[in-house]
Symmetry: C2
Subunit: 188 residues, 2 copies
């Protein structure tokens, strides 16, 4: 599948906040790589950026991806190879935006996500139209730990509303949130 | 939140199929418990049934749930305690259906899910209406490994269409699929 739209996803491991709203860097987890790559590939995401400034964490992520795209995993499960092949490990969000700008000849529209966000950002329907109909290159930012740091939110052009069920409880994993957002933006 | 509808989810570890369509039992995984419980609690699921006939696997699942609902985890993260409190570990799908029948005074409508399923089952919109408007108690079946065994599908009243992106690639984790299905059925 070569989609004629361009949505990239960036999973931010630094800077994010902890439960006390302090700026931290979080650890890369295996399941975040797999689940979000599988959902990304299913919904036509071009590149899934795994953003961490820590060299050892970059090596870990690159090693996991390599196992599935070049190592034994490729033979064992070709679907998993295809999914993880959309991952790129990179040091910072600024570098992601520079690389996307280079690829597309224009700065991508940068959209943040937040579980506690305001309802007044861009709607899912509007962003879906911009991606699919208007072919605007979009970068979707996902936070680990307790969410994206203010410095990241300041780089975003808009924010998607939080995903809500019937009640007030809202404690989705980033893997679940990413899957639901991609379905709303790109699902058939 | 006390929802006035009743949707339960059952994650089936046996009988499921492997890549060669052989009947197997799969292992309970920690992340399946957490991610689907968190999505379930967010969207108002009443009970998340973890179905495995193996006593050691039942003990493992019960131990993980207990850590978060009664042990140290409850203090560390009360949201996680609330999420995992909807989990019940049980030996078979037949027992789930019996227990739901006892609770609701009628057999639940049993809905299977399948990544390779036909498009001719019940639609998401129709099932959403039956759950929210008609208050029909519904049990949603999710498969681990390569999916639900034929014997499980035969217990179901209908099947939801597979979740598709723009292309043919379809390799979502059960955690992602569960999250998207719950959003489609119960999201605001």
């Amino acid at each position: 599948m070569d989609a004629d739209f361009h949505l990239d996803v960036a999973l931010i491991h630094h800077p994010v906040v902890n439960r006390n709203d302090e700026i931290i860097g979080s650890a890369v987890t295996n399941l975040d790589l797999h689940d979000i790559a599988r959902a990304g590939k299913t919904f036509g995401v071009t590149t899934y950026w795994v953003v961490t400034p820590y060299p050892l964490q970059q090596d870990l992520a690159t090693g996991i991806v390599g196992h599935w795209t070049e190592g034994y995993g490729r033979v064992a499960n070709s679907d998993r190879a295809a999914a993880l092949s959309i991952i790129r490990v990179i040091a910072s969000l600024e570098e992601v935006i520079m690389e996307m700008t280079r690829r597309h000849g224009r700065r991508p529209k940068v959209i943040a996500t937040s579980a506690g966000g305001q309802q007044c950002g861009i709607s899912y329907a509007e962003l879906r139209c911009e991606i699919i109909e208007q072919k605007i290159p979009v970068l979707l930012l996902l936070g680990t730990a307790w969410g994206l740091a203010p410095a990241v939110l300041e780089l975003a052009d808009s924010v998607l509303p939080p995903i809500l069920g019937p009640g007030e409880f809202n404690h989705l994993s980033v893997r679940s949130a990413a899957s639901i957002i991609l379905d709303r933006l790109l699902g058939r």
